[in-house]
C-alpha cells in the first residue's frame, strides 16, 4: 500500500466513552472499529452511504438538543456526543423494523438467506417482539429473472439500494434501478435489457435479505449445513479472496472475501460460479491408457504410472518437454519443476502456452507495483488486454482508483474496452502498430498524443502492462514497460492471464528461470540450487513454440501436458496437433479431456481447485494460501503425489511427500520465497497474502525492459484476437451457469473497412488467415482502428483460426445463410 499521511484524529464520546477517531469518518465506521456495532442494512463499507434504511439511527447531541440521526452518513466532528443505546434509539430501531416487516413475507423457511439473514438477525436483536400490523401484505409475483443467473423476489426487498448502488458505483453497469412508488417500489431491469453484468453475483452476496438469489445456489443448501474454507480464486491471476462453501461434499457457492489488498470483497461471476465445473460429470476420475487399437481404456494407477515411467525412462532426458502448470499451486509447480530438472533432467519447461510474455519480464520487472498502489496513483496507464474481460476484479480496483480516488486513466488498446467510459484519454491503434505509438509517446517534440503526455507528467504513474491480444508481439509489452518506467514515480504491474502463472514462473516453470526468480544463466544462483539438487543443465530450454517445433522435427520425443491445451491456445492449431501426433509419447495430467490430450498415450486425473492445498502467487507477487475442502473425484490424485510416485518408479528421489514438505523445500531453495511459510498466511495479519520477496527474501532477477528491435507489422486487416471472459475454455463450458453466457462468435470490422469490402452488418463472412479459415457473422464496430479485424479468441468456433498476424475477410461464397444467426440470445429481463 502507498504511504498515506496519518489522518487527523478527533475525540468523540460514544455511549459515554471518549474515543479517538479519524476526522471525517462516519459514525457507524468509527463505532465499529471501536467495537460498537450499529445495526444497518443499506450501509456497505465499500460503497458510498445513502441513508436509506434508517436502521442505523443514533442519538447525537446538537445545539438544538439531542436528535436522532443516521450513523452511516454522518461524519464525526470534534467533541461529538453519540448515544447508540438510549431508550429513544431503541424505540426508533423497533419502529424501523416493524415498518420493514409490514410488507415483508414470512418466507424464512424457504428463503435462501434464512439463517444468515441480517433482517432476521437484527429483528431478533433490535426488533419489537410483535407486530401490530394485521392487514394484508403487498404481493408481487415470486422470483422473476433479472438475468440468466440472478433472480429477484420483490416481496422480500427492503429497498436498501445496495444492489443498484453496486451496479452503478462499483461495477459501472447501471442495469437495475428502482421503479414505482410507495409500497409498489421495486428493483427491476430496464425493459428488454437483462442484468447482464459480469459482476451481477455480487449483488446477491450483498443483498441484506433474500430478495436476490443466484440460480446455481438457489435451494441447494441452508446456511447451517454449509462448510466453508477461505481460498483464492483461480480464474485469473489477480488473487481474489474467496470462501468456498460446500454442503454434503459438494461445492454449492463461492462468496467474495473482503481482502483489502486485492478484491475488496468483489468477484466476477466467473470467479463465483465456475465451481460448477468441479462437479462436472466429464471430470476425469480414473487413469486412462491408450490400448493397441488406439482407444483410451481405464487403467489402474500402477499400470498407468509404469507406462509413463517406462516411456520417460526410454528416451534421453532432454528429449522430454513439459507444457503447462500455470493453473496449479506453487507447491505443485515446484514439484513439477524439480521432477523435470532432477529426475527427467530436461530444461524444456514452459508454463505459458502460446500467449507467452518473456518470463523474466513477468517475474523480474522492477519496480513492480502492488494493486493497492492504484489508489495512490495520479495517473494509471493501462496498456493490456481488456481488463473487464481478462481481470475482472482488477478492473474493479482500477475503476475504484479512478472514480473514487481521483486517478486519471489512460487506456491504450486496439478496440473499445470496459474502462473507456472512465478513461481521461484513450488511444486506439491498429494491432501491430503499438511500437509506433510508443515511439510517438517517447519522441521529443512530437505533436501527437499531447494530452496523454501531459497526463503522464503527473506522478506517481502506475502502468498495467500486458498483451492486448494474442496476435500482438510479446515484446511490445516490454517496450511499453520500458517507456512507462521512465515516467515520474512509476511502477509497473505486469499482467499475464493464467491463474497462477506468476507462481509457476517463480517456481521455475520457465525455460529461462529456476525457482525463486533466479535466471538459469546466473552462475551463482544455479550453483546454489545445485548444492541442494545436484548438477543441473546450464542452458536455457525451449519455450512452448520451440517445444512444438522440436516435437514436429523429432528432436523431442516425449511431452508432459500439465493442465494445458496447446492446440486451442496455439498460434497455429494444426501445427500443434501435428506436433502432438508426431510425439512418441504424450502424457497428460489434467482434469478434463480437451483438444490436446484426446490423442495422449496416458491421461492421469489430477485434483484441482478446492481439492488441493497450497499457495498461489498473483500479479503483484503476492503469495496467498489456497485450501482444500473436497477430495478429488474418483481416483484422481494430487499432482505432487503422482510426480513423487513417478520419480520413485524412475529411480529418482523427489522428496515431495506432502504439501507442507514441499513448502519447506521452496523456502529453502527459492531465494525470493525464503521467508514463506504456510503458517504466516493462515493466521494473523498476513492472511491477505504477503508480497514476495519481502525483506527477508532476496531477488536475483532484476529485469530491465528494453524496446530495441521491435518493428511494426504490416498487412491489410491486422488481427486483434482479444479474450472474452466467458470463453470456450473447459472450466467455462463445464459450468452450466456460465456456458450459456458465451457470446455468439463474430468478426468485427470498422464500418469503413466493411464498406470498402462491400460487406454488410450481420452478413456471414469467411475469415481466413495463415493457419485456418472460419465462417463468422460480421459486426460493425466503429471503436476499432481502421485496417483491423477483431475476432474474440478461444470461442468454440474461433480458435480454429489460430493467431495469424493478418486476416482477409470475404463474403461467404455460397449464399442463403444470411442473418440466420442474427437472432441473438437476449433473454431474461422481466416478463
Amino acid at each position: 500500500m502507498p504511504e498515506q499521511p496519518p489522518p487527523e484524529m478527533v475525540t468523540i464520546s460514544l455511549d459515554g466513552q471518549e474515543i479517538e477517531v479519524p476526522q471525517g469518518e462516519y459514525i457507524i465506521k468509527a463505532a465499529e472499529d471501536q467495537g460498537t456495532y450499529i445495526p444497518r442494512f443499506c450501509y456497505h463499507s465499500r460503497m458510498k452511504p445513502v441513508g436509506l434504511c434508517r436502521m442505523c439511527l443514533v442519538e447525537v447531541e446538537t445545539p438544538r438538543g439531542r436528535i436522532l440521526t443516521t450513523a452511516c452518513n454522518t461524519p464525526v466532528a470534534p467533541e461529538m456526543i453519540v448515544d447508540t443505546e438510549s431508550a429513544v434509539v431503541q424505540k426508533a430501531q423497533e419502529g424501523i423494523l416493524e415498518f420493514l416487516l409490514i410488507n415483508h413475507p414470512l418466507d424464512c423457511p424457504v428463503c435462501d438467506k434464512g439463517g444468515e439473514c441480517p433482517l432476521q438477525d437484527q429483528t431478533v436483536a433490535y426488533g419489537p417482539g410483535e407486530s401490530r400490523f394485521v392487514e394484508e401484505k403487498r404481493h408481487f409475483e415470486k422470483p422473476i429473472p433479472l438475468s440468466d443467473i440472478v433472480l429477484m423476489d420483490r416481496e422480500r426487498c427492503i429497498l436498501c439500494a445496495r444492489c443498484t448502488r453496486f451496479s452503478e458505483e462499483v461495477s459501472g453497469d447501471p442495469l437495475i434501478e428502482f421503479v414505482g412508488r410507495g409500497n409498489q417500489t421495486h428493483v427491476i431491469t430496464f425493459p428488454d435489457e437483462p442484468f447482464a453484468s459480469y459482476f451481477s453475483g455480487n449483488t446477491v452476496q450483498i443483498c441484506p435479505v433474500g430478495a436476490l438469489t443466484a440460480k446455481p445456489y438457489r435451494f441447494k443448501a441452508r446456511p447451517w449445513d454449509l462448510e466453508a474454507i477461505e481460498s483464492v480464486s483461480m480464474v485469473d491471476a489477480s488473487g481474489a479472496s474467496i470462501s468456498i462453501e460446500t454442503s454434503q461434499n459438494e461445492v454449492v457457492r463461492i462468496n467474495g472475501v473482503d481482502n483489502d489488498a486485492t478484491n475488496h470483497g468483489w468477484l466476477s461471476d466467473k470467479d463465483r460460479f465456475v465451481f460448477q465445473a468441479i462437479h462436472s460429470e466429464n471430470r476425469l476420475a480414473t487413469p486412462l491408457i491408450r490400448d493397441d487399437a488406439g482407444d483410451l481404456q481405464p487403467a489402474s494407477w500402477g499400470d498407468a504410472l509404469d507406462r509413463v515411467a517406462d516411456a520417460l525412462g526410454s528416451v534421453r532426458g532432454d528429449e522430454v518437454a513439459s507444457i503447462g502448470g500455470a493453473n496449479n499451486t506453487n507447491e505443485e509447480a515446484f514439484a513439477l519443476g524439480k521432477f523435470l530438472r532432477t529426475v527427467v533432467v530436461t530444461p524444456h519447461i514452459d508454463a505459458q502456452v502460446g500467449d507467452a510474455l518473456n518470463p523474466e519480464f513477468l517475474a523480474g520487472v522492477t519496480p513492480r507495483a502492488e494493486i493497492g498502489d492504484l489508489d495512490g496513483a495520479a495517473t494509471i496507464l493501462v496498456w493490456a488486454g481488456d481488463l473487464k474481460e481478462e481481470f475482472p476484479t482488477l478492473f474493479l480496483r482500477v475503476r475504484h482508483a479512478v472514480t473514487q480516488m481521483g486517478a486519471k486513466l489512460i487506456v491504450v488498446h486496439p478496440r473499445r474496452t470496459g474502462l473507456d467510459n472512465i478513461a481521461a484519454e484513450k488511444i486506439t491503434y491498429r494491432p501491430g502498430e503499438g511500437p509506433e505509438v510508443v515511439r510517438k509517446l517517447t519522441a521529443q517534440g512530437d505533436q501527437d498524443y499531447g494530452a496523454v503526455r501531459d497526463l503522464l507528467t503527473a506522478g506517481p504513474v502506475i502502468a498495467l502492462v500486458g498483451l492486448t491480444g494474442r496476435a500482438e508481439d510479446p515484446r511490445l509489452a516490454e517496450a511499453v514497460a520500458a517507456y512507462a518506467l521512465g515516467l515520474p514515480g512509476s511502477k509497473v504491474l505486469p499482467l499475464a492471464r493464467r491463474a497462477n502463472v506468476f507462481g509457476a514462473l517463480d517456481m521455475g516453470l520457465a525455460p529461462t528461470l529456476l525457482p525463486g526468480r533466479v535466471p538459469v544463466k546466473s552462475e551463482s544462483g544455479r550453483a546454489e540450487l545445485e548444492s541442494h539438487w545436484g548438477p543441473l543443465p546450464g542452458e536455457a530450454g525451449l519455450d512452448t513454440a520451440g517445444i512444438i517445433a522440436g516435437l514436429a522435427a523429432g528432436d523431442l520425443k516425449a511431452l508432459l501436458l500439465v493442465g494445458a491445451d496447446p492446440v486451442r491456445d496455439g498460434r497455429n492449431p494444426d501445427a500443434v496437433r501435428a506436433a502432438l501426433d508426431a510425439a512418441e509419447f504424450v502424457v497428460s495430467l489434467d482434469m478434463f479431456l480437451n483438444d490436446s490430450n484426446q490423442q495422449a498415450s496416458v491421461i492421469l486425473p489430477v485434483d484441482g481447485f478446492a481439492e488441493t492445498e497450497g499457495t498461489v502467487t498473483n500479479i503483484e507477487g503476492r503469495v496467498q494460501k489456497v485450501n482444500r475442502i473436497l477430495p478429488g473425484p474418483g481416483q484422481s490424485r494430487a499432482l505432487w503425489s503422482i510426480l513423487d510416485e513417478l520419480s520413485s518408479r524412475m529411480g529418482g528421489q523427489l522428496g515431495a511427500g506432502d504439501g507442507p514438505a514441499i513448502a519447506k523445500e521452496i523456502a529453502l531453495v527459492a531465494p525470493a520465497y525464503r521467508s514463506m511459510t504456510w503458517d504466516r498466511l493462515e493466521w494473523g495479519p498476513e492472511r491477505d497474502g504477503v508480497v514476495m520477496p519481502d525483506r527477508d527474501g532476496v531477488q536475483e532477477l532484476r529485469f530491465v525492459p528494453d524496446d530495441s528491435g521491435l518493428r511494426p507489422t504490416a498487412g491489410r486487416l491486422a488481427l486483434h484476437s482479444g479474450r472474452v471472459l466467458y470463453d470456450g475454455g473447459t472450466r467455462n463450458t463445464q459450468s452450466p451457469a456460465l456456458a450459456g453466457l458465451t457470446p455468439d462468435p463474430a468478426v468485427y470490422l470498422h464500418p469503413r473497412d466493411a464498406s470498402a469490402l462491400a460487406l454488410a452488418d450481420g452478413q456471414e463472412v469467411d475469415v481466413a488467415g495463415e493457419f485456418g479459415t472460419v465462417r463468422l457473422r460480421l459486426e460493425l464496430d466503429p471503436s476499432l482502428a481502421e485496417g483491423s479485424a477483431y475476432v474474440p479468441a478461444n470461442l468454440d468456433s474461433t480458435w480454429v483460426l489460430g493467431v495469424p498476424d493478418v486476416v482477409t475477410v470475404e463474403a461467404q461464397s455460397s449464399k442463403g445463410k444470411k442473418n440466420e444467426k442474427k437472432k441473438g440470445k437476449k433473454k431474461g429481463a422481466g416478463e
Partner: protein, 214 residues
C-alpha cells in the same frame, strides 16, 4: 411357637400370592393379536403430511434436519415445478430421508417444522432385516392422498386415523408463487384449529399474474 407354624405354612404363602394375582385383571396382551391404545403423545415413527388438496406440506426447508440432535434427517430442496407444484410456494423437499436406526424419537423435528409437515404417529413396528431398509425415504414417509400413512399395518388401533387427518399446518409458510389462482383458496390451509378459513382479505384483488392471464 408362631415361628414354628409360620415355618410350616411358609410354602403355602406363595400359593396365596398366586391365587390373589390369578383373579386380578390381566395386563398382558397377546400382541400382535391384541393391540394396546397408546398414549396420545406417543412418539412413534414420522410421517410427512399432505394438505387436504393433496399438496405436500414439506417445503424442503431443512429445519428439521438442522435441529435433529442425532443428525439422522437428510433433506434437499428444489424449485417447485411451476405447472405442477408439489407443495405450495417456491420450494419443495425433493429428497427426504430419516435414518430410523439413529433417530432418538425426541420429536424436535416436529417442533421445528414450520408447516407441520412432519409429525409423529403411533406407528412403532418397523423392524428390518437390513440396515439400509431402516433409512426411510420420502416414498415411505409421505402419507397417502387420504392422509393415511404408508405402512405395512395401517389399520387397527395402532393409530388414530381421524387425528392424523386433522393434523395440519397452522401457518402458510410462503405465498404460492404469487399465483392468483392459488391465492385465497382456503382448501389447502385449514389453519389454526380445524375447518376451513375464508380467503385472506384482498389477496386476489390485483396481482400481476391475473393481469397477465387476462
Amino acid at each position: 411357637m408362631a415361628g414354628f407354624i409360620g415355618e410350616l405354612l411358609g410354602p403355602f404363602k406363595g400359593f396365596a400370592t398366586v391365587m390373589r394375582q390369578a383373579f386380578k385383571p390381566r395386563l398382558t396382551r397377546s400382541y400382535p393379536h391384541e393391540m394396546r391404545v397408546k398414549p396420545q403423545r406417543f412418539h412413534g415413527r414420522h410421517v410427512l403430511n399432505r394438505y387436504p388438496d393433496g399438496m405436500e406440506k414439506c417445503i424442503g426447508c431443512e429445519l428439521c434436519a438442522g435441529v435433529c440432535p442425532a443428525s439422522c434427517i437428510y433433506v434437499r430442496g428444489q424449485d417447485n415445478p411451476v405447472d405442477a407444484p408439489v407443495s405450495p410456494g417456491e420450494r419443495f423437499g425433493f429428497v427426504y430421508e430419516i435414518n430410523l436406526l439413529r433417530c432418538i424419537f425426541c420429536g424436535l423435528c416436529v417442533e421445528a417444522c414450520p408447516t407441520e409437515a412432519i409429525t409423529m404417529t403411533q406407528l412403532f413396528e418397523f423392524s428390518v432385516t437390513d440396515r439400509a431398509d431402516a433409512i426411510y425415504t420420502k416414498d415411505e414417509l409421505l402419507v397417502q392422498a387420504d392422509g393415511t400413512p404408508n405402512h405395512g399395518q395401517p389399520d387397527g388401533p395402532l393409530i388414530d386415523l381421524a387425528e392424523l387427518k386433522l393434523a395440519d399446518g397452522w401457518m402458510r409458510a410462503t405465498s404460492p408463487a404469487g399465483r392468483a389462482d392459488f391465492e385465497g383458496v382456503p382448501a389447502w390451509t385449514p389453519s389454526a384449529g380445524v375447518g376451513l378459513r375464508p380467503a385472506e382479505r384482498g389477496q386476489s384483488d390485483v396481482t400481476e399474474s391475473e393481469e397477465e392471464e387476462a
